[in-house]
Amino acid sequence: MKQLVIHPERCTGCMQCELACSFVQTGTFQPSVSVIKVHVFDEQASMAPYTCFQCEEAWCMTACPVNAITIDNVIGAKVVLSEVCVGCKLCTIACPFGTIFYNPESNKAFKCNLCGGDPACAHACPTAAIEYEDSETKDWVGPWAERLNESFLTALAGEPS
């Protein structure tokens, strides 16, 4: 199955993924409603995008009281069926990855649906930090960030709190 593969070391923090994503998902250029988020690791002058893993447990799908979330047969993405969603937000507190959100304007949940098999974030990324290719799912950013942040935490520990 194709996945969004994240290469944190290539990310320049240009935020094009967030703009592209918010436009596709909500019709507005509004990074705060993008379903891909660029994390800033500023002490190392690094950034990394983070989005839905399309995880196998599918916490959002299994928590939904009206079965408004399903799996796209072709691309395997977990997708919200807007006509069925009642806007109860249970998925937004059940998903432990923090990758499904509530849109107050439409009163619906929304999440990464892999743009129907042609993800806008991967298109928009100028440095191929986001690629859409056959792969297993894994925590792309965690191990990288853990390593990078050691010096940051050492600095923080030295500061008076």
């Binding site: 596709v24 998902q25 909500t26 019709g27 705060s32 988020k37 994390h39 690791f41 990394a48 983070y50 893993f53 995880c55 196998e56 447990e57 599918a58 799908m61 928590a63 009281p65 009206v66 079965n67 408004a68 399903t70 799996i71 997708v79 069926l81 807007s82 006509e83 069925v84 806007g87 109860c88 937000k89 249970l90 937004t92 507190i93 059940a94 998903c95 432990p96 990855f97 923090g98 499904i100 107050p104 649906n113 743009c115 129907g116 042609d118 806008a120 928009a124 799912t137 894994k138 925590d139 950013v141 965690g142 191990p143 960030a145 853990e146 942040n149 935490l153 923080l156 520990a157 709190s161």
Partner: protein, 456 residues
């Protein structure tokens, strides 16, 4: 009659169990007995406020059940259960079973106040309750009990055109959902929207007065209303296990396989008192996500699987007049280390609760359009659920409590969570869905991609 699996109760827990038994390839006969038709209680507010038509609260049709070899016996109540393999219904029907699931949920409970069972006093717990309340015509509504359930229906009542007064016996609202300070922010916000409150108010009686209702308080005060709604708590529907030898405490005690002390009898959902994340005590959480997880575990094990539950996490979210309130885990945080932040120009509040280096609970308050302040709720849940030791990141959160994301990513919460599968296999879509799903969920995208392609 005889069956292999007897499911008692067609709420989310019972229905999740049925779907999971079939998901695990077990095709043996299932009999479903339920006092009510299959529907989801938590969807009732969305029916009441007009978001969805009434038919959309149902979670199965007769055809759906029969196609899955499930014999529905609806409108019947199981009155006694012999773990030896026999259940008796209120009409005398006897059902023999190999194994049974008790998923009877809970009922609204009312304090013993004179007049509380009078006319124009309604509960808000069942579809019939919702229908009865909808048949009222606005006016003044007094809701007794200012807890989570009252809050789930508040917007619907206001949209009915009602002026609402929330009456609470404790000296604060939402006493079992958020901390006192958060509750006071919610209260002032709602007061600014025209909702009235009486807290610390002991109701002594409810009387009829010229076609209206009079609520009398112990301190001599009187509140008039056209309709009274009680949302004063729930009690588990335990009647059927009386004298059966099945162990109960507040609910029916279950192990991590949702088994009761009678090996072939399982319990799930609001009725079950089961394992909890981060605690040795068994609890009844009475929330939808727990009911669904319980139901899935029970179904898998009834189908011959071996699914062990990692425990429930308390979590709730509710929206009132465009204020979103959410809480997780040990939100009360008694005796714990606590970090709070708030915005003094609008109702935005966050509380993080720690035991040492572990995040154990949280409270979120904000307007739904305060997206950046609410969109890390899921990550917060992930950290609480995994109980990860945050190490130095604990200190970071003291300084930057709005930046959950960095500690989350750096503590590799995702790596741990990606390994978690409730039933030891990938989930599949299951359960009944209302017809007419939207087939064009990526409509916008076509526009966008063609724009990009043109530019390339």
């Amino acid at each position: 009659m005889k069956t292999t699996h007897l499911i008692i109760g067609a709420g989310p827990a019972g229905m999740a169990a049925i779907d999971t038994i079939r998901e695990f390839g077990d095709t043996s006969p299932i009999t479903l007995v339920s006092s009510e038709t299959p529907y989801s209680r938590m969807v009732l507010p969305y029916f009441m406020d007009g978001t969805i038509p009434e038919q959309n609260v149902f979670t199965a049709t007769d055809d759906y059940l029969r196609e899955r070899n499930v014999e529905p016996i609806l409108g019947r109540t199981v009155t006694s259960l012999d773990p030896g393999g026999k259940a008796v219904c209120d009409d005398g029907t006897e059902i023999e079973f190999d194994d049974a699931l008790i998923a009877t949920g809970s009922s609204a409970s009312r304090p013993p106040i004179p007049g509380i069972d009078g006319e124009s006093v309604f509960n808000l717990w069942t579809l019939d309750d919702a229908r009865a309340v909808l048949a009222q015509k606005g006016g003044e509504i007094a809701v007794i009990g200012a807890g989570f359930i009252a809050f789930t229906c508040l917007d619907a009542l206001i949209r009915l055109g009602a002026r609402v007064t929330l009456v609470e016996v404790e000296d604060r609202i939402l006493p079992r959902m958020i901390d006192e300070h958060g509750a006071s922010l919610v209260r002032s916000f709602l007061e600014s929207k025209g909702v009235s409150f009486r807290v610390g108010a002991q109701v002594s009686s409810i009387e009829d007065a010229g076609g209206r209702k009079e609520i009398n308080f112990a301190d001599g005060d009187v509140l008039e209303a056209d309709v009274v709604i009680t949302a004063t708590g729930i009690s588990p529907n335990l009647g059927l296990v009386d004298g059966s030898g099945i162990e109960t405490d507040f609910g029916i005690l279950v192990d991590d396989h949702m088994r009761t002390n009678a090996g072939n009898v399982f319990a799930a959902g609001d009725i079950a008192q089961g394992p909890v994340i981060g605690s040795d005590r068994k609890e009844v959480h009475a929330i939808q996500p727990t009911a669904l997880e319980h139901g899935r575990i029970a179904g898998a094990n009834m189908a011959g699987g071996d699914a062990a539950y990692w425990g429930s996490l308390l979590m709730n979210v509710v929206d009132v007049q465009k204020l979103q309130i959410a809480s997780f885990g040990d939100w009360l945080g008694e005796g714990a280390e606590v970090r709070t932040v708030e915005n003094d120009s609008r109702p935005v509040y966050r509380k993080l609760i720690f035991q040492g280096e572990v995040l154990t609970g949280a409270v979120f308050l904000g307007r739904p359009d305060d997206v950046a302040l609410l969109n890390d709720m899921g990550m917060t849940k992930g950290l609480i659920q995994t109980g990860l030791h945050l190490g130095e990141w604990r200190k970071y959160l003291d300084r930057y409590p709005l930046d959950i994301r960095r500690p989350y990513v750096a503590s590799k919460a995702a790596e741990k969570l990606l390994e978690m599968q409730l039933l030891n296999k990938p989930s599949i879509p299951r359960g009944y869905r209302q017809p007419d799903p939207d087939p064009k969920y990526w409509e916008y995208h076509d526009v966008f991609v063609s724009t990009i392609t043109e530019g390339e």
